[in-house]
Amino acid sequence: MANKHLMIVIKYLKDNARVIVICIMGGSLMPLVYCRSCLHELDNYIFIALYSMCIWLSMWLGNDALHHGLDRFLPWTQRPVARLFASIAAMLVYTISVILFLVWIFETVSSYRLGDIRQTVLSTVIVTTIITMIMTSRSFFLNWRQMAINAEKFEREGIEAKYDALRNQVNPHFLFNSLNALTNLVYEDQGKAVTFIKQLSDVYRYVLDTREKEVVSIDDELRFLKAYLFLQQIRFGDNLKIDMELSDAQGQVAPLSLQMLVENCIKHNVVSTDDPLRIHIFREDECIIVENRVNRKITNAEGSSGLGLDNIRNRYKFLSNVPVEVSDRDGKFIVKLPILKSNESIDH
């Protein structure tokens, strides 16, 4: 245990070696600035130098730690005004109490008087404020730049998803298979054929309409999913069974995400008379779950980029704090898609 603590201390000293050296050097030069008389009295010089070193070290390392702590709990990008006040308050409380404490220690162990405490506090606060401002603007700038990078990344993921979805929908297989199924339907059941054409155009319209959107309501996505499933069910008949229990779900999802998940199931699994594919879509807590029993196709030649799931996962990294969970265990493939609350959508 003691060893472990020692290691932590050593690591801390190593990480901050540069700062410590600067503080020791700076502190030892301080008496030259505000205690000319000390030049003739070595004792006083050392005393003032030690005192200055302690102030430099505690101010530098302490404020740095405060700063990092606040970054974790109250980042600039989330609530900048609250963060500004928190920074100032934390810095003032810390600086004043450390100085009072150091003055008390130094005056207790020696007979030397450190002069007007108010003056010391004031000058230290001013110096610390200036340094904090520099550090803050630096971290603010870095945060801000990271935010811009994230936004850029998110936009790219979104574009990729839309492109993927568009490509899959306009994908020759999807279109030709749909038209092919339609050919027979026109003879068999004209009413159904008309519905088929209507649903096919709804599917394309939704893909085009959601190109600009980052999130959509579950209702809209479900309407689209049902149109898509109607087309697939004409193709596969009773071999494709969908159990959907989502009527009461409120909230939002990323556009095309549910459809992509269902499409994945159909693409990768056997859908035949002997082995029908059953997809179960339901809600569990704050997630939508898409689940199917795994029965993989031997070959999968319908041109899967294999990026559909990755894409959904990456898009959700920006949309939600809860990750998309994928599990492939015990013959079941399960994807948990977090439901997005209306205000949670984009707050990065």
Binding site: N180, A181, L182, N184, E188, G237, K297, I298
Partner: protein, 111 residues
Amino acid sequence: MRVLIIEDEAQAAQHLERLLTLLAPNLLVLDKLDTVKRSVQWLKNNKAPDVIFMDIQLADGISFSIFEQTDVKVPVIFTTAYDAYALKAFKVNSVDYILKPVDKAELGACS
């Protein structure tokens, strides 16, 4: 003529059957199969048909694996909605391939 249809989508199989019977009234569709597994079984247990109409994408894989598992001696006509596999089809027993939706004139030209 005795014909076997291997096609995973019921609608497409039905359409093909209707066109075939229309073109050749004495033609007999022996069976309609939707998977590689069923097709291999059927071909092993039954007398070979005169011709097989075969979709390329089947419910459990692509139909070329049927040729790896059985020795198909009869002519095969591939039907596909998208011609990405057409060239590969000629390496096996294929006599022709048709694009779906199947056209009566095109199907007539096959025979």
